[in-house]
Amino acid sequence: MYDTNYHRASSVEEAVKLRSSQDEARYLSGGMTLIATMKQRLAAPSDLVDLRHVASMKGISVEGRKVRIGAGTTHAEVASSSALKSVCPAICHLAGMIGDPHVRHMGTIGGSVANNDPAADYPSAVLALNATVVTDRREIVADDYFQGMFDTALEEGELITAITFEAPEKAGYAKFPNPASRYALTGVFVAKGASGVRVAVTGAGSNGVFRATDIEIALSASWSSDFVASVAVDAGQLMEDMHATPEYRANLVKVMAKRAVAMAG
C-alpha cells in the first residue's frame, strides 16, 4: 500500500469537510474493498476519511413500510435485523451472503453502494427495490444512481448517508457465486411493490448492475417462475471472463430470477 493519511470523522459534516480538503482523499467505510485495493496498489488515496465513528450513519429504522438503512450499517447488522426481516427478508438474505462473516462485520451498505462493483450484491437490491440513495446534499433515485461499472451519480466528495425504500409486497434474491472469489457470478433481485415489478441483475452485465426489463414485463403479467419459458435473455450485453461466458450468464440470469421469484413466494 502507498503512503496515506488517516483521519477519523465523528459527524457527516466533519467527514465532508475532511474529504474536501484534499483532492485525492477517499471516504473509508468498512474498507473491505478499499483497503484490499490499496494493498494491491491499485488505489492510492492521499488521505482516508474514516466513517466508522459517525453515529448518525448507523442503524436501521422501519416505520410501517418505510425503511431507512444508515450507510454505515454493516452487512451483519442488515442480515440479522429482525425489524428488517419482518418487512423485507430478501435484503437480509442478500446481506447474509456477502463475503464471509468477518467481511460482514466490517463492510457497509453505503460502502458497497458507493463503490458499485459490478459483482457486488447490494446494487441489485437498491435498484430492484427502487430505493433512494440519500447523500449529504440530495436524494438520488436508484434508476439515476447507477451509471455503469464502478460509476455512480455521486459527485466529487458527495457522501452517502443512508439508503431508503418502501418495503415491497414480495422480494427475493438468488445468487450464483463465482467458484473462486464468491462474488456474484450472477445475482438477481426481484421485487413486487408499489412501483410494480422490478428485477435487477448484478454480476452479469458488462456495464454493471441493470434491470432485466423483459423479465419484469413477464412477471408483471404473471408473478410465477413460469416466465422462464417465454423470456429470452440477450447475452450480447453480458460479461465474459474466465469463469463465465455471456451465454452462461444469460442462462444464470433466468435461473437465478426463477429462484428469486420462488423465494419471494
Partner: protein, 163 residues
C-alpha cells in the same frame, strides 16, 4: 507516523506506525504477537482473523489506525491461565489442525461463530460460516467436527451453569 493505542487481550498497548500499516502487521511486528498470520492478499483466507470489539474481523484488511481505541483479542488471548479454550481443546481432540498456519484464524472464527449462534449449529451452517477461512491441510472434515464438538461443550456447559 501515528501512535496507536488499543486494548489487546485485555492489556492497553501502544505502538508507532505508518498510517498505512495494517492491523495484522501492527499486531505481529509492533506487539510481537505472531500467532495472527497472513495467508493471502485479497481478504479471503482468514489466517488473520482476530476479534475487534467482540466481532471477528480480518486484520489484514483493517488499518492499525482504524483499530485505535478498540479492544482486540488475538489467538494468544483466549486461553485462560494455561487452560485451553474449549474450541482450542476440541481442535486438539479432533485433530482439527495439521500445519497450524490457518489454525489461529480458524479458532477465532469458531469462537465467534459459536457465540453468535447460541448453540444452534449444524454441519451445513458450520461449513457455510467457514466460507472466509481457507485450510489446505485438513479438508475441513475435522475442523467441522471440532467446531460442532466445541459448540456442544460450550452450550452444554452454559446450560448446566444455568440449571
Amino acid at each position: 507516523m501515528a501512535k496507536v493505542t488499543l486494548t489487546v487481550n485485555g492489556r492497553t498497548m501502544s505502538g508507532e506506525c505508518d498510517d498505512r500499516t495494517l492491523l495484522v502487521h501492527f499486531i505481529r511486528d509492533k506487539l510481537g504477537l505472531t500467532g495472527t498470520h497472513v495467508g493471502c492478499d485479497t481478504t479471503q483466507c482468514g489466517a488473520c482473523v482476530v476479534h475487534m470489539d467482540g466481532k471477528s474481523v480480518k486484520s489484514c484488511s483493517i488499518l492499525a489506525v482504524q483499530a485505535a481505541g478498540s479492544s482486540v483479542t488475538t489467538i494468544e488471548g483466549i486461553a485462560s491461565q494455561g487452560e485451553l479454550h474449549p474450541v482450542q481443546a476440541a481442535f486438539n481432540q479432533h485433530h482439527g489442525l495439521q500445519c497450524g498456519f490457518c489454525t489461529p484464524g480458524m479458532v477465532m472464527t469458531a469462537v465467534d461463530m459459536i457465540n453468535r449462534h447460541g448453540g444452534q449449529l449444524d454441519e451445513v451452517t458450520v461449513r457455510h460460516e467457514l466460507e472466509g477461512n481457507i485450510c489446505r491441510c485438513t479438508g475441513y472434515h475435522n475442523i467441522v467436527k471440532a467446531v460442532l464438538s466445541a459448540n456442544e461443550e460450550m452450550h452444554g456447559a452454559s446450560r448446566q451453569a444455568a440449571e
